[in-house]
Symmetry: D3
């Protein structure tokens, strides 16, 4: 399945924190970088997410900001 979002980072889940409705997922994508995602607890459970899973973190370009010193 090809997708329009250009930001796709393969990595491994290193932390998973669940609230009543929202979950916080942390993914190590290598190069010293980690990505943190906020998704529904339902979605985390649908995907059967757990620490150590190989996943893809996906981000639409319109959601990326640029900062410069």
């Amino acid at each position: 399945m090809k997708m329009s979002p250009r930001n796709r980072f393969a990595g491994t889940i290193t932390q998973l924190k669940k609230g009543a409705v929202m979950a916080q997922v942390t993914v190590d994508i290598g190069g010293g970088n980690t990505v943190t995602s906020a998704i529904f607890v339902d979605s985390a459970e649908d995907l059967g997410l757990k620490t150590g899973d190989k996943v893809l973190a996906v981000i639409k370009s319109t959601d990326v900001m640029i900062f410069k010193e």
Copy 2:
């Protein structure tokens, strides 16, 4: 200045493409990963962005999705 977005990737601009209103910025963040951002041309010019610049690509966690095979 501390910021709430948890996803902050330091990198170098490798491509900058400008339309009439929007600009497409590609940033090499190391580890084999690049980040692409859509911002206003005005913003790109306010920051004086150009290929080779050291920048920070910043993304709010609520904008990050997770995919799993």
Copy 3:
């Protein structure tokens, strides 16, 4: 590939409009509903999008607002 976004609408592209950087894609998802998307022209071309294509329009729940009379 399973995905965390819960909003996935199968449909057919009915219109595709390209600017210098951004493209506007309209998808008929049935039930009298159409979905409009703003993506990079590069992404539209990577996916080889054209009118009549069968696609999936995907939306993260944190981007959906509710209105009530």
Copy 4:
């Protein structure tokens, strides 16, 4: 009141789940499609949302992604 977001789906609330801060709202928009939204519990209570309510699910085009086999 006219609005810039082009994606407006009329439907009926079929599920409402509340956490401490966030709420998950599911709306049947017909044609076999449902839309899920993450909003503040405060917002759900301001609008007096409950199962069976007629509502509008609204989404900005820049938040819609396209996938193609």
Copy 5:
């Protein structure tokens, strides 16, 4: 029509810039603050937007970031 987004700012359009697909709208909301929006040119034309118009700038809370010195 009641809406879930909690950030609603009444103001006056002070600038409107149109590209092929996207438009940049600047709104003076008082208190020394202006809000800039990126919407489709089609949406700007559907709403008949022009400088001097009284409008509402609306933002979902999940899209607001916090910075602190």
Copy 6:
């Protein structure tokens, strides 16, 4: 640090509500306007946020919608 997001509102935190994963931050930005933000509890704690703090509420233009009577 210069930033691409054009919407930056200086203000004072008037309310802070924490759930298990998400926090709701309300900021008075003057001119009769307040901004509400949804961020991770972890982020609120990293920034040491508390009522009375001077902060900046930052919003990307692609997340701003326009409404007109």
